[in-house]
Symmetry: C2
């Protein structure tokens, strides 16, 4: 049974990898780019759509000029962030996630706020990206629509397994689709531009756009802007992952960041531009990118399906960014004692398996609760990202003006401006998306922070309890006291005899103890015990309420109370071991419960003596 599970694990996850092989599992620029950029690059496939969803119902045909303005604002924001994070990479060769930057420069609380908001966003990234990936699939194959949730869950499962297998394999597995997406979407943009500008093809008139009911307002602009800001999620991924790059890791990371920013710029502006030329609007169950592809390449053409397929893939790979980063963030938090320590240990394949499993559970839960509806999840999304941008950039700014090293004034301006813009954007998003779901995130972040502080407090307590203050050799008891041994007996059989023989190796002060629920059986036991010819007593106590364990525990407590300093009461428990696990269901589990109760008693040592039953 257990061996079968183990074999299955090896098949699914792969063979164990030595700790020393750690170095070879790192990213080159070529494979690091797709793994770390897929989140940022893929978000164009829904960011443009989200902007249009705000504008079109109100502005109708007049939506496309503001669209380009908003796209320009977002791209401006992109470059501010890219320059800011470039500086983070320089200062943090060990990985400059928002959590580290904020906590080192601003203190524990801002660090935890950044960590909490990032964690929430990683979970949302997985949910949003896989749901959008499914939407791309169902745009091409509407007959798959009823199985939306199942498809999405299956995708998350695939990602989980891929990531449990480890880093390098995942970078190749997940890198190729990202490149395919980039090539096909750039081909789409280029073809579209050539058709319009070189061949002079006039796009067909817009069909079914609603009438314009009002002019563009500041509020509408800001609302659309905050919807589009989802395009910028994932920009921080590179600076988080610096130590995952091959040496020279900082240089490679900076190259990847520059490539990433350029890609987002080209793809996002290209898609928005084509959307405005073809006057594309959100339609139920057909994505904006899918409409553009259909207009550029013709509906049902091979290239249309290529764009759909690669869009689906890149979105799924975007979720992979979170699978690379959340477990890493959790491992940092675990090292600092803010989450359970188990998130800090690597699995058999060197990946942080517990973090990966947690992400799997949480994101699947979200997909089920929100029924794989991307548009319901998006409003929860960007607040946390920009909150962590703000904290991280503020941290960098503080760092420059504190340390004042090198070209610090120039650099402080860049990070300061980044922080300022991110803060404003964060407020815009929080306010304009508040009722749509941002409130959930604004409740979750402080809750998580409080939770993490509690965990840290617990770990501190445990450390204080275990720490040795005195000279440690003083703690050793020079003349070990004699052992008091209690040996509970149910009936006199081979298992009991084995335990008895063992007990006699421990010392002379042995008491055999029986809790009786049946007088006749107790009498028989007495006779059989006398036949053994031992020189220590059999104590029999009655349990009129048949509560054997409680009676025994009360006796143990009485004995325990008599102990002097450094003395321990040793309870020897015979336990029979059955080869097949399901056989245990046929035997009372009272001894298990007894053991867990005994082990909570300060001066009681519990010894288990196995007796193996042969089948």
């Amino acid at each position: 049974m257990f061996n079968m599970l183990k074999k299955m694990k090896t098949i699914v996850i792969g063979k164990a990898i030595k700790s020393a092989e750690s170095e070879s599992e790192k990213y080159s620029v070529l494979w690091g780019l797709p793994v770390l950029s897929s989140d940022a690059v893929s978000s164009v496939s829904y960011a443009c759509e989200e902007i249009l969803m705000v504008l079109v119902p109100v502005l109708g045909i007049a939506s496309y000029k503001p669209l380009m303005g908003i796209a320009a604002a977002i791209i401006g924001m992109l470059f501010i962030l890219a320059f800011s994070y470039r500086q983070t990479i320089e200062c943090y060769p060990q990985g400059g996630g928002s959590y580290r930057v904020a906590s080192e420069n601003l203190g524990r609380l801002p660090g935890l706020v950044a960590a909490a908001s990032l964690s929430i966003d990683y979970v949302l990234t997985v949910a949003v990206s896989t749901c959008s990936g499914t939407a791309a699939i169902t745009s091409a194959f509407p007959q798959a629509l009823p199985f939306r949730v199942e498809i999405t869950l299956f995708l998350i499962l695939l990602l989980t397994i891929g990531n449990l297998r480890g880093l390098r394999e995942s970078s190749i597995l997940f890198g190729i689709p990202t490149y395919l997406f980039i090539f096909s979407i750039v081909a789409m943009i280029a073809t579209g531009l050539v058709k319009v500008f070189v061949l002079g093809q006039v796009p067909p008139p817009a069909d079914g756009l609603p009438p314009q009911t009002q002019d563009i307002t500041v509020l509408l602009f800001l609302k659309a802007f905050s919807s589009g800001c989802t395009a910028l999620t994932g920009v921080e991924a590179v600076s988080d992952g610096v130590p995952n790059f091959k040496a020279p890791s900082q240089k490679n990371a900076k190259r990847v960041l520059a490539l990433l920013a350029s890609l987002v710029f080209i793809i996002f502006s290209g898609v928005c531009y084509l959307a405005s030329i073809y006057k594309v609007a959100h339609r139920e169950n057909v994505t904006v990118v899918s409409q553009i592809a259909s207009k550029v390449f013709g509906p049902g053409s091979a290239m249309f399906f290529t764009v759909q397929a690669t869009t689906a893939m890149i979105l799924i790979m975007a979720a992979n960014t979170a699978f690379a980063d959340l477990p890493l963030l959790l491992s940092f938090l675990a090292k600092d004692g803010f989450v359970a320590r188990s998130f800090g240990s690597r699995g058999t394949r060197l990946s942080f398996s517990n973090g990966i499993m947690l992400l799997f559970l949480l994101s699947s839960g979200l997909v089920i609760i929100f029924k794989a509806e991307t548009h319901l999840l998006i409003p929860l999304y960007a607040v946390g990202v920009f909150l962590s941008f703000t904290l991280s950039q503020t941290g960098m700014f503080k760092r420059w003006i504190t340390h004042r090293q090198g070209n610090w004034k120039h650099k402080a301006v860049i990070n300061g401006f980044g922080a300022f813009m991110a803060a404003i954007t964060c407020v815009i998003i929080a306010v304009s998306k508040f009722v749509n779901g941002a409130w959930i995130v604004l409740i979750c972040i402080p809750t998580l922070v409080v939770f993490m502080l509690f965990i840290r407090k617990h770990y501190d307590k445990v450390r204080d309890n275990l720490a040795i203050e005195e000279s440690s050799s003083d703690l050793i008891v020079k003349n070990p006291p004699e052992n008091y041994i209690l040996l509970p007996v149910q009936s006199i059989n081979k298992s009991f005899i084995k335990a008895l023989n063992y007990a006699m190796t421990l010392g002379k002060k042995i008491e055999v103890y029986h809790v009786s629920t049946n007088k006749e059986e107790a009498e028989k036991l007495k006779v059989r015990f006398r036949q053994l010819g031992l020189d220590f007593p059999l104590v029999i106590e009655e349990a009129p309420y048949r509560n054997i364990n409680e009676t025994l525990l009360a006796h143990v407590d009485k004995e325990q109370a008599r102990l002097k300093k450094h003395e321990m009461l040793t309870v020897v428990l015979p336990q029979f071991v059955i080869p097949k696990w399901w056989h245990y269901t046929l035997h009372n589990q009272t001894s298990l419960r007894l053991k867990s109760a005994l082990v909570k008693r300060r001066n009681v040592a519990v010894v288990t003596i196995p007796y193996i039953i042969n089948e």
Copy 2:
């Protein structure tokens, strides 16, 4: 947490009862009758309906003459069974369930077949009766129809709690509704007969009966007969429960059996007769009894609702018969080692709580699977009952002709005739209901029997393994060998020091052992260990795959292989104890897994040394 659960248990289940109080928890005739008869008495409320469901679609208005014929046949069967079981009570003062009678007189296999079929039927009794009870409720209040499953599950839960509380309380709690049902249904029958015969009221003409499409055939008659045989389920309950009666228990049991047979006779024949006079047929969502009550007392009258309410109650109480009997049967089987021993031990309230819980789970499962549809469950029902009747009566017959005591010829004839009739009925039911679901039961019975034989085999193996053949004092090792002690260490802290001090009380041959996943930490550990100034070694082994437990276990196996006869390796494990259970989620559970692996090793004693963390 644990204390809270315990308090809740006391509130729901009641305070613990002493074993010695057992005697006072028994039935008088007055309270034994309702508890043991509710199954048999209540079945009239669906038996008549099941017969009409077979006849009316084919015979239409001509159904009612055959109905009375079938009712007569079933009542004949009832008296045969009553006389047969009377003899069982005489011979089995300790309770003569089919299991005991069949296994004592016919052998192990027939006994287990009887036990398996009875067990299945008890589960079905709970499911069928609570579903019918719910049907009575929804006949009066159709608006409750959509919550059929929920209502049924709630009823089963109430029964479970009531039974967990113990015997006497349940007999009063469940007895009153049975009496109320008996009085109201007898009142209904009497009123109907007076109206027709004394007042000469002509019943209104039958409405909406289908036309007669064929004449009555033998096949149709037998099919209807087997449907109606559900009326006879529960007759054996009294003879099973003889030891539950107050002294003189056999006399009281016989009285209750006679009363039970008379009641079933009066109520079943009365209801069938009124059904034939009023020409009542099965209607969707309105039961036959409810239609009769409405015609006798007028729809919406107080007495109509009384009949509905008490019918619902008696049906629920019928399920209670199974709650009284299945746990008792399981306790017999447990004593003989055919099911898990835990079914043989009484809970804090002296009821067989494990059997009650199992019945709760299985019957709830059936209700959910069959969506609380009585008519789908009924075909599964009667086969098992009549199979166990047959085996039990055959057993009694065999007993008379073997022992040949007293008036044995006369008594053998009665039981032989009972066995013969029960066997014929069983075959009729199995054949005519085969495709409707009886096949499920005919698969389940042999499966259960094989399962029980496997369990017995396991218990036999365990007993043989533990039994002491030699003179038991020879098994005791006269000169206890010295202990080998292995003390794994993670880091040197107070918990380790406590374990170390304890280890030194056990012997001199101590080895401190560390599995290293990090060279620097291992070096630090070495230094700190040297500072303790001890005269035994620290062994450090590296685990390149980070598999600490496996490395340790391999080391233990190596050490174990070196042991001589009677020598044991003692592994001392420090374990820290945290006051709040949820704190355990913050600590690695590796030591738990380690312990369960260590305890499977024949010559390894595992000692747990607690270190309590103060909050």
